[in-house]
């Protein structure tokens, strides 16, 4: 279930903004700070977001997890305000604030009643340049992050498998390590490296402001200019040059861990959504995985009844080429070998024979409906706009539905044949061990 949620979110992600494309206003201040504004007056609320072009992709071996730890530290105070001021100010106005870090970006957001939406502007401008990173506060927050790591990965068998699979799939690209960082790197963290990371990547020319909701774009733009306009342009952030070598055959990892049900995850290296094969890969993911009428659910869960969930997803909204995922959780007493065979059989089928026109049409209809439905949420609109802007540029959203509509059954079969092969594949298998076997 966990993955079907990720899959559907991702799918929606790709679609929702197309309709917005015409309504997005873009401005760039002299210091390089970009702003994207969408006026949406359906309800008296708005979201203000600042996205930085930095994530685990920009980190180095031995120093993983810096981007995510920095995200935590952004709530711990500046030269001008104490450690609690940011969130307190927002919550006193009835708002919520939080942040997220991915392999490609770090984003901060506030959600508020729209008459209060200028509240975070000065505070965001302040923490872009005046963050206080004392040794004590960094090390205390590092401890919090180690707890987050234990919660999300070390004690979660399926997430643990995903980490291992990424590490095996990529040899020399930073996508090989987790966004949260390796435990050993967190434990030996040097607060000086965090300060350096902040100085290198937190500057107006490496950031994008996104505002969606019940706002007046001229007013909000003016307020942003006043708050951020005087922040000096920083040096250009260093480029990430790592390029992944070609793979010569399948890679496999096994994880023996306390768990109840066997689980398999296979990933295949694929290009980003802006590549000519991107749209067809997206439709492929949809046909395999979107909804109860999709192929994997029908075959593995409903007909054969050997899995309790089965899913696939093309992760194309990415800065550098990433992955196509497929996976399944075995039912009790079912052999993971049989589940894997059934999963691969479905991939094979679509290589041998193009999907029906009806299946492709359904994927297109789902894409079109999702992009309209997603406009129900201002937060989601901003998230989609941001994730495109950070990777392939927000204007790509314009091309998205148009591209999806052109995909043919033959295209889907062709990309399956091209990418779902051993030379692009890494497989991870969770082998459950009995409770208490380790203690």
């Amino acid at each position: 279930m966990k993955y079907s949620i990720i899959v559907s979110l991702f799918f929606i992600l790709l679609l929702a903004t197309h309709a917005l494309a015409l309504q997005v206003d873009e401005y760039v201040l002299d210091n390089g700070l970009k702003m994207l504004i969408v006026e949406d007056h359906k309800a008296p609320t708005a979201t203000f977001q600042v996205w930085y072009r930095v994530g685990s992709r920009n980190e180095k071996t031995g120093k993983t997890g810096l981007s995510h730890l920095l995200e935590h530290m952004m709530f711990k105070g500046t030269k001008n305000y104490g450690p609690k001021t940011f969130s307190q100010t927002i919550q006193r106005a009835g708002g919520t604030d939080n942040a997220f870090t991915s392999k490609d970006y770090t984003g901060y957001f506030e959600l508020l009643a729209s008459d209060r939406i200028s509240l975070p502007i000065d505070l965001e401008a302040d923490r872009m340049q005046n963050l206080v990173l004392s040794n004590d506060s960094v090390l205390s927050e590092r401890d919090v992050v180690t707890e987050e790591r234990r919660l999300r990965y070390e004690d979660d068998p399926q997430s643990y498998v995903m980490e291992e699979v990424f590490a095996a799939a990529f040899k020399n690209h930073p996508y090989r390590w987790p966004v949260i960082g390796w435990m050993s790197d967190l434990k030996t963290l040097d607060p000086g490296a965090l300060i350096e990371h902040y100085k290198t990547y937190y500057a107006p020319n490496n950031a994008v402001i996104i505002v969606v909701g019940d706002v007046n774009k001229k007013e909000i733009m003016e307020k942003v200019r006043q708050a951020f306009g005087s922040i000096p342009t920083g040096p250009a952030a260093p480029a990430v040059q790592a390029e992944e070598d070609e793979q010569k055959g399948e890679r496999r990892v096994y994880i023996n861990k306390e768990a109840e049900l066997p689980y398999i995850m296979a990933v295949f290296k694929t290009p980003t959504i802006s590549h000519e094969d991107g749209f067809a890969l997206d439709v492929l993911g949809s046909i395999l995985s979107d909804g109860r009428s999709s192929r994997l659910y029908r075959s593995l869960v409903y007909d054969k009844q050997i899995a309790i969930s089965a899913w696939a997803s093309y992760e194309g909204v990415s800065k550098d080429p990433f992955l196509f995922f497929a996976g399944a959780t075995a039912g009790q007493g079912k052999k993971i070998e049989d589940v894997e065979a059934a999963l691969l059989e479905e991939l094979e089928k679509i290589k041998q024979q193009p999907p029906s026109a009806q299946e492709v049409r359904r994927a297109i209809n789902q894409a079109e409906a999702s992009f309209i439905m997603q406009q129900d949420s201002i937060y989601m609109q901003a998230r989609i706009l941001g994730s495109f802007e950070m990777t392939v540029g927000w204007r790509f959203i314009d091309k998205y539905l148009e591209g999806i509509r052109k995909v043919t059954p033959e295209d889907v079969s062709r990309v399956a044949k091209k990418y779902l092969i051993d030379e692009k594949k890494t497989t991870g298998v969770l082998v459950p061990i009995a409770k208490g076997a380790r203690s």
Partner: protein, 441 residues
């Protein structure tokens, strides 16, 4: 003079009326078949969101057949007199819509989301799955098998393991004490006839609330209801008395040993029902204790000052028939004792001192100021009004709510802390590596 006054009164009445209208989320009416209809026309996007809530949750099922309500709801879209499971999913997914059904403790919900152009198809499918499910044996076996597997898989999630143990300890024999999905044993006792009977008894309009929000007028909706739900007949609903929740008089400690890096901790006890007049004071009190995210005392102490946890929160689940209070956190096994001790200290502090003016003011400001964010989309409104109706809070709740929160005083906060927080007679659940945790509790 008199005339002027009359004019003023009229003007005031008009102003008042328009204000009420502006803040009323949906129109409410009781249809001839006794179903409550909540409707708001919102034309900004060509979509319609529909939620049908039927009072057919696990509180309506017999304890020995635990899972009956869940199975009944989950099987609704797995085949009707007209359509197979596959035909239903293909029909709705082909137009990019969604139709899903599930059951909770209090009620079951069937949710539909479609583009406006597909609303007739949407209502056709919705009415079909509510009125004509066939509960085919094959589908029942399949659903039971998957449900059992999910129950097994839950064991991989330490937080869920802790939460199941906690509910059982707090609510005992009350339906809130068991999982809505039932247990592997109870699922085996459920027959097709049980499901057919449960559906026939509880899936009736007298027992249902329908909320419809989106690009659809009352007139359009009326025609759809007539066409698709016109034959849905009312009938009397069987009543069931609920067992009590035994009050615990001393600490109950439940420990579960696992090969984990963290101890998953839940500490709490029985709470309040949603209709308790102290509900709003409890909301304010809990915001300060552990409900207010980074503004809360628990977060300040356990995460920000001590670096012991990523997540620490407290929560009053105030349901219709009973409720619970719980503090939840996860910390490395070795820190479990310290964290539990700090939780108890913070609970005790709420009971011994007044909260500060600032804390009270902040809690009120957040709880009232965040209301617009809870109702700023069609899907949020559709869900929110169902809960307003279920708890008899009235469609003008959003008007009344700020005064209810702002009326809470420091004295109220202390009073409800003394009354509803109990740092002596608690239930403590720890799922973790017990050798490393070396619990003092």
């Amino acid at each position: 003079m008199k005339r002027k006054l009359k004019y003023l009164t009229l003007l005031m009445a008009l102003l008042f009326a328009s204000e009420v209208f502006a803040a009323r989320l949906t129109d409410r009416e009781v249809l001839p078949n006794n179903m409550v209809l909540l409707h708001a026309e919102r034309k900004a996007i060509p979509i319609v969101t529909v939620v049908l809530a039927v009072k057919a949750g696990s509180i309506a099922e017999p304890a020995e057949k635990a899972g009956l309500a869940y199975l009944t709801a989950a099987l609704l879209n797995e085949g009707t007199k007209k359509r197979s499971s596959r035909e239903i999913s293909e029909a709705i997914e082909f137009v990019g819509g969604s139709l899903s059904a599930s059951a909770g403790a209090d009620y079951a919900t069937v949710s539909l989301s479609v583009l406006k152009k597909d609303i007739d198809l949407g209502f056709d499918l919705l009415s079909d799955v509510i009125m004509n499910p066939v509960f085919n044996e094959d589908e029942i076996r399949r659903k039971i098998r998957i449900t059992k597997n999910r129950l097994i898989q839950q064991n991989e999630e330490p937080g869920v393991v802790a939460s199941i143990a906690f509910s059982k300890a707090v609510f005992g024999e009350h339906p809130y004490g068991r999982q809505v999905q039932g247990s592997p044993e109870s699922l085996d006792l459920i027959s097709r006839q049980d499901i057919v009977d449960f559906h026939s008894a509880f899936f009736v309009p007298d027992n249902a609330i329908l909320s419809v929000v989106g690009d659809i007028s009352r007139e359009e909706l009326g025609a759809l209801l007539k066409k698709h739900l016109g034959n849905w007949q009312q009938k009397s609903i069987p009543s069931r008395s609920l067992p009590g929740t035994g009050a615990k008089k001393s600490p109950v400690v439940i420990k579960e040993n696992r090969d984990l890096t963290q101890a998953n901790i839940i500490l709490g006890h029985i709470g309040i029902t949603r209709d308790n007049p102290d509900y709003y004071a409890v909301l304010v009190m809990n915001y300060i204790l552990g409900g207010g995210g980074f503004a809360s005392r628990l977060m300040d102490n356990i995460r920000d000052s001590r670096g012991l946890a990523y997540d620490v929160h407290s929560y009053f689940a105030a349901n219709r028939f009973s409720g619970s209070f719980q503090v939840g956190l996860q910390t490395k096994n070795e820190s479990a004792n310290t964290a539990i001790n700090e939780v108890l200290k913070e609970m005790q502090r709420m009971r011994t001192e007044y909260v500060s003016d600032r804390e009270l003011q902040d809690a009120r400001a957040y709880l009232t100021g965040s209301l617009p964010l809870r109702i700023d989309s069609n899907s949020k409104i559709a869900g929110f009004v169902i809960s307003l109706e279920y708890h008899n809070l009235g469609m003008d709740y959003v008007n009344k709510y700020p005064a209810l929160i702002n009326g809470v005083s420091k004295e109220d906060v202390l009073r409800v802390a003394l009354k509803y927080l109990d740092p002596e007679n608690y239930i403590l659940v720890v799922v973790g590596s017990l050798g490393k945790a070396n619990l003092r509790y």
